[in-house]
């Protein structure tokens, strides 16, 4: 029953203008409320997949559906409201003079009135613990703070699905933990594209491994991370001294 699924990717094929094939028959289904870690070596197609989920890129073959809505030109606006993408570098996402205006950018684009936008901004900043920073310019904030504002800028649109690209990269240990706590409290369906395997383990129940444009593994995250041969075959490594045992040994 596809209406019940948050994300459906069916046999996606996509190649960049220079001919490099990024997605080579990728199929994926994600249910509402799931948290899925998207793992894989560099160049595997993780970022390309991300950009297909909100229609930035169109597959040359195959289709994408978000909560039953096909991702096509006709529905692009609604798709982008439902899918919030948090890019890796917060500086790519924060381009307005103040934090408040950055968080307002999304809902304003979707036609919310001034009062509603203000309300959403307040709520979103509250969720990430940045309420008192609404009138500050983003470049006055620390990196960790900018990452939080970037999430708020997406939450203010009221998305059902969050896609996060390397959420923990470049964060100091405390910010990394605080950020993880924020993510843990969110109720949206979540896709976490990351190299930080322990981080994924802390947040997600399920993991898919992408390599050379297709899914090569899909299962409970503990099982995937406990499979040493699988990790080695796709250039994935747990940090030194870290082992994961599956509970179904």
């Amino acid at each position: 029953m596809t209406e019940g699924l948050a994300i459906v990717c069916d046999d996606l094929h996509f190649a960049y203008p220079d001919g490099h094939p990024a997605l080579d028959g990728l199929s994926l289904e994600v249910e509402h409320g799931e948290r899925v870690a998207v793992l894989g070596p560099n160049g595997a197609g993780k970022s390309t997949l991300t950009l297909h989920l909100n229609g930035i890129l169109e597959p040359q073959r195959g289709r994408v559906e978000i909560s039953g809505l096909p991702v096509t030109r006709a529905h692009i606006r609604e798709v982008r409201r439902r899918v919030g993408v948090v890019f890796q570098d917060p500086d790519d996402m924060l381009f307005m003079p103040t934090v408040g205006q950055d968080v307002a950018f999304g809902p304003a684009n979707f036609g919310c009135g001034e009062a509603e936008v203000a309300q959403r901004v307040l709520r979103a900043l509250d969720m990430v613990g940045m309420s008192s920073y609404a009138d500050r310019p983003p470049h006055h904030l620390s990196f960790g703070q900018r990452k939080r504002v970037a999430i708020a800028a997406v939450l203010s649109m009221g998305p059902e699905i969050l896609v996060l690209d390397e959420p923990s990269s470049n964060l100091d240990p405390r910010s990394r933990r605080e950020f993880g706590e924020i993510l843990a409290k969110l109720e949206q369906t979540m896709l976490l594209v990351t190299h930080d395997l322990p981080y994924a383990l802390g947040l997600c129940d399920r993991a898919v491994v992408i390599d050379r444009g297709r899914i090569v593994a899909d299962g409970p995250i503990r099982d995937v991370l406990a499979d040493d041969a699988l990790l080695a075959a796709h250039a994935l490594e747990l940090p030194a001294g870290f082992t994961v045992t599956s509970f179904d040994a």
Binding site: I56, R80, V85, F87, D92, F95, A108, N109, A153
Partner: protein
Amino acid sequence: MSGGGGHVASIEAAAALDTPVHRLDARVKILGLVGLAIVAVSTPVGAWGAFAAYFLILGALCAVARLPARYVLARLAIEIPFLAAAAVLPFVVPDGLALALTVVAKAATGVGAMVVLSSTTPFPVLLHGFERLKAPRLLVMIVAFMWRYLHVIGSEVGRMKIARQARGYEPRWIWQAGAIGQTVAALFIRSLERGERVYLAMASRGYEGGTPTALVPAQALRAADLVFAGALASALLLVRLVVA
């Protein structure tokens, strides 16, 4: 380029003040100040009373807008190369002195009018003003992105400067054209890639071109706007037809 960045920053600072002139509707300011410049240009040579009147009007606007004198003079400095050119006129053209002074006055009025406009209207508001005056959407979009990418270039220049200085190299002269060329190439590509990522982030949050009304509320004209428009129009007509 850091000098240019300083210019932009000082204009943005001036435009962020809050005075009656700043609060005027952008459309009224655009039409009024453009009109002033055009009336000035159409004024015959030697009509000193008229030019004095134009300067008075602009001066009054600067005063009410609390624009610092030093700032205004710095903005007018863009005229200086042409002052030198005007100085040549008395020697090559009959009645050249009156012509030279007229030309300088017209140019200064034009620059002054635009200085008042850009110094009392924040850029997004100014652009929105043009939008509401029915400027073509494609042009507005180009200008919006020009402004945004100005800041992208600025930050990339900053990063590259640090990297270069750390290696002790500052290409500046024509025989270092190769190094200048490489710097330009690197700056261009880095700015392009950064700009693309910013654009992706904007599109992902629903951006489709145009300014959403919640960000720059579309206000109706107030009494103050109409009074200003009327007063300015009457003053210009009076000056142009009677004094000139």
